[in-house]
Amino acid sequence: MGCENIEFDQGWGEMEKGIEKLKRILAGEKETPFTSREYMTLYTTIYNMCNQKAPHDYSEQLYDKYKKTLDEYITSIVLPSLKDKHDEFMLRELVERWLNHKIMVKWLTRFFHYLDRYFIIQKSVPALNEVGTTCFLNLVYEDVHPTIQDIVLSLIDKEREGDQIDRALLKNALEIFVEMGLGQMNRYQDDFEARFLQETTNYYSRKASKWIEEDSCPDYLLKSEECLKKEVDRVSSYLHSSSETKLIKKVQHELLVVYVNQLLEKEDSGIKVLFRDDKVDDLSRTYRVYNKISQGLDLVANVFKQHVTIEGTAFVQQAEEATSNQASNTPGGHEQVLVKNILELHDNYMTYLNSCFQNHNLFQKALKEAFEVFCNKTVNGSPSAEILASFADHILRKGGSEKLSDEVIEETLEKVVKLLQYVIDKDVFAEFYRKKLARRLLFDRGTNDDHERSILSKLKQQFGAPLTSKMEGMVTDVVLAKEHQSSFQEYLRNNPDVHPGLDFTVTVLTTGFWPSYKWFDLSLPSEMVKCVKVFKGFYETKTKHRKLTWIFSLGTSHINGKFEPKPIELIVSTHQAAVLLLFNASERLSYSEIVAQLNLAHDDLIRLLHTLSCAKYKILNKEPSSKSISQSDSFKFNPNFTDKMRRIKVPLPPVDERKKVIEDVDKDRPYAIDAAIVRIMKSRKVITHQQLISETIEQLSRMFKPNIKAIKKRIEDLITRDYIERDRDNSHMFRYLA
């Protein structure tokens, strides 16, 4: 080109030619595409017109013309084409027009490109592309977007109801919303998404309220899963990806959160039925579906907890009613059944926990809390700690009455230990267990040492040494006693002159390990006095620093009763033996004579005489022969006594130790609290009241749960005893006084 300036009109005329050609191409008319030459000409025209010296620098005018061209095109061609269209057709038209518009903008931007390089930067005005979109936005979009929104939403609704729709069309239409945001998502969100989400909520709310009435829980869950899948699919097909989270949350809420309790607690198909019928798949689905909802599992775990609690409590109720309705022939039989039931319940739900609930800690917690509810109930006056101890005792006595195999015994004992974690008063359990262990070790011939040690080590592992140290000592004592016995036998052999003439065994118990026993100053028969003396002599050769206290109430004697029909061996307690042996010297003894000779308290003697004269075996005859013992009675040896067996055991009535056990435990608790507080204060030196309370509870939690009042009382006591003091300035801080 020459150095002559191009006049505006002249230059613009050239451009118009190109623009008209473009329009024709867009209109689908027969036209050849732009050649390189044509393009270069148009580009250069702009270039030149922008590089002329003022006042012939036409950049601004060209910029305006660019915009005007687009506006005019839209107004004259695009808008009329949309005017008379509806529904899908309108959508289609709009999509096409937008496509065309973009092509136009693309070409025009190429021609006018030089403006983009300098003018827009200089003048801080929008780039040509942006201008192009803005024109469409202002003239077309602002006008039609509400209508478009309506159309899109109704198509989505149609699809939800099952009809097929043109997904590609929707995708393109929604993209317009996005592009109109000019880099922001606000047009998409404000002009479409907001209402879309609202209508989605309404839609699923309606469906949910219908389905919850009509469908079973598993079916409802299936439907919900399906809906969620479809919505995710919808997003990937035509919605913008940013909608997914919001959409899914709304759908989940309407379908699964709003009706969760109604759903899971459905009478005929809810959680409890799924458990009852072992519907593992449905349960897993429940977990899966709710796992995707934030805090959804909380809801399910809650229902789960309630369900387990109800089941467990029902067992407890059963046991209560069974015992009060009929006198059972096995005392505590119903309690045995109760423990078995609860153990089974635990096994079942642990399985579900693993198979359906991925061992999720929410469900673990729910299970724990449920068990803690019913594992701490008292059944017919018997605290759960006692019931559990009795259950263990039953199993350990010669393998329980069902003669279980070693494996089964081990398994069951393991489960008992597991169940103990739910019992709050573990120290009560320990005390009952200890008392029963004593009886097993001393009276039950068939105790299996391995099992005894095994359960103790399991208990120690779970709950710590303080729980089991005394019991371990007891078991060791009995083992040592056997060793002692053989060296005692040797002693007798080496000292034949001191042999008392009777077979007898002594078990030495370490005080402190064993429960405390009442001590009676019993006057022994002379034969036994000899035995005691001999053993004392033997024991002193072993150690001089220990004091032996004889607890005859724990002893057993085998006495030969020379009855007329036939001789019978009587297995009795030492106390009973002492009574019977009196009758070797006198044929007839009055109650007071017996008292004088034996030196026993009335309560105890009455109990003994009862077993020998008024109970199952009438070894002594009582005058008068009433059913109970009175202090004016007299007794005679009954020579006619007989039984079909050659050897009989004359049992003592069981003593109810429950009250004493609970009393003893209650007495010890303040000391345990003291020890815990001092321990904590020693290590922390300074601590707030709140923290002291919570740490004390935590430290003691393996044994029992102290209440706040009890702890406060001990704190007070420790203050008085100068172990700790309250801070002068900060009344809720305590300090350790060394």
């Binding site: 707030t688 406060k712 009382k713």
Partner: protein, 228 residues
């Protein structure tokens, strides 16, 4: 004077010698004169065989001052004197105390008593006085707690004027409850805190979960039951 918690069971503490002029630097004539007056006043009431003012002497002092020997001002005087043993003033305590009060005669002492009341009521002194009142009742060797009846009287004397409704109610409770037969110093100091901090009679801001002693938890429970 607060009621004597127990009869005189243990011997009075050692008194310092009456003439205590060893090692002291030469004081001015006026000072010596003042000290002489104080000493003379002391000797008026002191029991010569012990060398200190004993309960009888204090009774006499009270009557001369025109106050009842159960008046709280005598307790305040004991506090000012930092008297260690209930019912007794040693010469040292007397000297130090009267000097601190700036008095050397009976009439001056009388006047000083009302000033003393104001001094005690100052927040910085009050807690000290309150704690002192309890300690003063620990008459036995190694005694840590005071019996309930004495505590009730002491509460009335020390806090009764300022916190009448709280004290009346608290005293009623202390007399009917059975959990505690004695009160230790920690419980005592918390009675004051209670009166100062807890709104009465609604007790709305009392929370048993906090570090209040158990006896106050029980008291609040009792109050709430009474008014429900």
């Amino acid at each position: 004077m607060p009621p004597r918690a127990s009869k005189r069971k243990s011997a009075p503490p050692n008194s310092s010698s009456v003439t205590s002029s060893d090692g002291r630097s030469v004081s001015s004539k006026a000072k010596i004169k003042g000290l002489e007056k104080i000493d003379r006043l002391f000797n008026t009431y002191a029991n010569s065989s012990f060398g200190m003012i004993d309960p009888e002497g204090i009774e006499a002092l009270c009557s001369d001052l025109g106050v009842d020997y159960t008046d709280v001002r005598i307790l305040m005087l004991a506090w000012k004197l930092k008297a260690e043993k209930q019912g007794y003033f040693t010469q040292d305590e007397w000297q130090t105390g009267l000097k601190a009060l700036g008095v050397d005669s009976l009439s001056k002492l009388k006047k000083a008593l009302s000033d003393l009341e104001k001094e005690v009521e100052k927040p910085s002194n009050y807690e000290d006085f309150y704690t002192y009142a309890f300690r003063y009742c620990l008459t036995e060797e190694k005694q840590k707690s005071v019996d309930i009846e004495s505590i009730c009287e002491l509460l009335n004397l020390v806090l009764g004027v300022q916190f009448r409704p709280q004290i009346d109610s608290l005293i009623e409770y202390l007399k009917v409850q059975n959990d505690y037969k004695v009160i230790n110093s920690d419980q005592w100091i918390n009675f004051l805190r209670f009166c100062k901090e807890i709104s009465f009679p609604d007790l709305e801001n009392y929370d048993a979960i906090q570090a209040w002693p158990l006896i106050l938890d029980n008291y609040v429970e009792w109050m709430r039951e009474k008014h429900s």
